[in-house]
């Protein structure tokens, strides 16, 4: 492990594998093929690749139509456009129409980096999570990406996959299998539960767990790759074991993972909880490292919240 892979390369490799086995798989792009790196798919399946130009709304609508003929369309664009720009088309033409469109939003949150605030989606999970029956997931490493893309293809119904496009550390063994709606336990612990999503924050949560361990604090770390449907059983189990929860997301703390976890806990097992994520701010330009610090998306911030929430638990 500890190797690094370009996520987009894994994505296109997986998509090609799927397309070889299933001729229903088609690909749609909105003039971002050179960014999403899907030219390889086009080379192999030219007749099943549609570049719709800079027109995300139209791309999602066309994907819906393709799906009505039985195709399984994967439609890619940056997460900001997939969610903000094409929301009504995805909502009505794809989801409300009960079709089978696989929307992929790349460059989530701070990973939009040098494209800056206009391209920085801190709200896409929140928007998507309000669509009935939609599956919403964000892989954290190359192995989970490949697995979850396959899960999305197999799922009968629309999915939104939030995809880290650039390189990411490998967290899982190649043999690991994934299921939509079932979080992955990365390590068990009993003092505080760290529930994280996505490549940026799962890695920060793992780092935080190491720092905390050095201080004698045992953290239970879960990769909650599917935020809808959320793994209620796992959330409740972690809250029972640890009695204190911190969520970690490269997203607004409103309506993303933190909200999803809070909704479970407040109804089933009220537990002291803190949310690490972006707080009432728009995106900005800068390097990923700069932006992680700017928005408080680091292991240090997670540790601070972990200690705070443990304190609240013991004060209770």
């Amino acid at each position: 492990m500890n190797s690094t892979k370009e996520m987009r390369a894994v994505y296109v490799e997986t998509l090609c594998q799927l397309a070889e086995a299933d001729e229903r798989i088609v690909l749609l792009e909105a003039d971002l093929m050179r960014a999403t790196g899907t030219q390889g798919f086009k080379k192999q399946f030219p007749n099943r690749t549609y570049n719709i130009g800079v027109a995300e709304a139209n791309m999602v609508g066309i994907a819906a139509g393709l799906s009505a003929t039985g195709k399984i369309p994967f439609a890619n664009t940056f997460a900001c456009f997939a969610s903000r720009r094409a929301f009504d088309q995805f909502f009505i033409s794809a989801n409300y129409a009960r079709l089978n469109v696989k929307l992929v939003g790349t460059d989530p949150g701070v990973t939009a980096a040098l494209n800056g605030g206009t391209h920085m989606a801190f709200e896409d999970l929140g928007l998507m999570r309000t669509i009935p029956k939609l599956v919403v997931c964000e892989p954290s490493d190359p192995v989970s990406l490949s697995q979850l893309v396959k899960c999305c293809a197999d799922h009968l119904g629309c999915t939104y996959l939030r995809m880290h496009r650039k390189s990411a550390d490998t967290i899982y063994d190649e043999s690991e299998t994934f299921e939509l709606g079932k979080g992955k336990t990365l390590q068990t612990g009993q003092d505080v539960a760290l529930i994280a999503v996505g490549a940026v924050m799962v890695n920060e949560a793992l780092k935080a767990a190491e720092i905390l361990a050095a201080e004698g604090i045992s953290a239970y770390v879960v990769d909650m790759h599917t935020i809808k449907p959320i793994d209620r059983d796992l959330v409740i189990h972690m809250a029972k074991v640890c009695g204190a929860v911190v969520t970690c997301e490269n997203h607004q703390i409103v309506n993303g993972l933190g909200s999803a976890v809070a909704e479970v806990l407040v109804e089933s097992l009220p537990t002291p909880m803190e949310r690490v994520g972006v707080k009432e701010m728009f995106g900005e330009v800068g390097s990923v490292e700069y932006l992680k610090n700017r928005f408080g998306l680091t292991a240090e911030v997670i540790c601070r919240h972990a200690k705070q929430v443990i304190k609240r638990k013991t004060e209770k």
């Binding site: 088609v26 007749n47 099943r48 549609y50 719709i52 130009g53 027109a55 709304a57 139209n58 999602v60 609508g61 066309i62 994907a63 819906a64 139509g65 393709l66 799906s67 009505a68 003929t69 039985g70 195709k71 369309p73 009504d88 088309q89 009505i92 033409s93 409300y96 129409a97 009960r98």
Partner: protein, 281 residues
């Protein structure tokens, strides 16, 4: 060319559809009367002369498909589908009632015979393109028809789709614009002028024809001509009258979504049937 007998049959069928639709809307007491009536004639021509469909096999893979992008014209479609045997005619009185299969806007999951869910204006032409592309992949030669509203054409997505259909050379896509010159808030030239509508579609790379949307002969000829088009998608601009055939609604701004009492609807139906009777004699 349509012969006189066929034109007479289509006219008579269109009157039946008008009556059924007015009856359903009148029974409910409110609805999108104007835009439903402007489409009766073209939908009658499509369903009773052109579309290859099978009411017993509503999802037959190689059927012709129709996306009514101006989804609020659903009630006209429901009258036709009921008449064609997709569901019992009595169902038309359930229009817009809680739990109905016949909602105000077209829904592919609720209503047998509806090919695409529409209602959020601007989206249907994109879906029709997707269906046409899917057909092409599967080697299916069927025609995908789409109907967009003139007011709907204010939406930018219509023009995104217009570019894509030409780019993908979708010559099996035949779209119509229901050009009744009225949008919800008023006449189009006052709200958002669409002229020169034919020049716009021509410049987007479509094979464009403009005909009287209440003249079966002209419309039929236009549809026949699209079959010889080897490359371009087709746009047939239909000059129509909003509320066509219903005297209290024709050309009225208020006809977009209009209240009416059932007694008035029934009186108008009697009048329409009387007039038709005279024609048939």
């Amino acid at each position: 060319m349509l012969d006189e007998k066929t034109i007479k049959e289509l006219t008579s069928k269109a009157t039946e559809i008008r009556v059924l639709t007015l009856d359903a809307l009148g029974y409910l007491g409110v609805g999108h009367l104007g835009g439903c009536m402007s489409l009766v004639d073209v939908l009658t021509l499509l369903y009773y002369r052109h579309m290859k469909i099978d009411p017993k096999d509503t999802r037959k893979r190689d059927r012709d498909q129709l996306v009514v992008s101006k989804g609020h014209a659903g009630p006209t479609l429901y009258s036709i589908l009921a008449d064609k045997g997709y569901f019992p005619i009595e169902k038309l009185h359930t229009l817009n009632k809680g739990g109905t299969d016949l909602p105000s806007h077209c829904d592919r999951n609720l209503t047998p015979g509806i090919d695409m869910t529409t209602g959020s204006l601007g989206q249907g032409l994109s879906a029709a393109i997707g269906i046409a592309l899917g057909n092409r992949l599967d080697g299916i030669q069927s025609t995908v028809f789409a109907i967009i509203g003139d007011g709907e054409s204010n939406e930018g997505q219509v023009w995104e789709a217009a570019q894509a259909a030409a780019q993908f050379r979708l010559n099996h896509l035949v779209a119509f614009t229901d050009y009744n010159k009225l949008q919800l808030d008023g006449f189009m030239y006052e709200i958002m002028n669409i002229e020169d509508i034919t020049a716009k579609w021509v410049s987007f790379g479509w094979f464009v024809q403009r005909v009287n949307g209440h003249d079966f002969g002209q419309m039929d000829l236009a549809i026949e001509r699209t079959k010889a088009e080897p490359v371009r998608p087709s746009m047939i601009v239909l000059d129509t009258i909003k509320g066509k055939g219903v005297d209290f609604a024709e050309n009225q701004v208020a006809s977009h979504n209009m209240k009416m009492d059932y007694a008035t609807a029934l009186r108008t139906i009697a009048k329409i049937e009387d007039e038709m009777g005279v024609v048939n004699e």
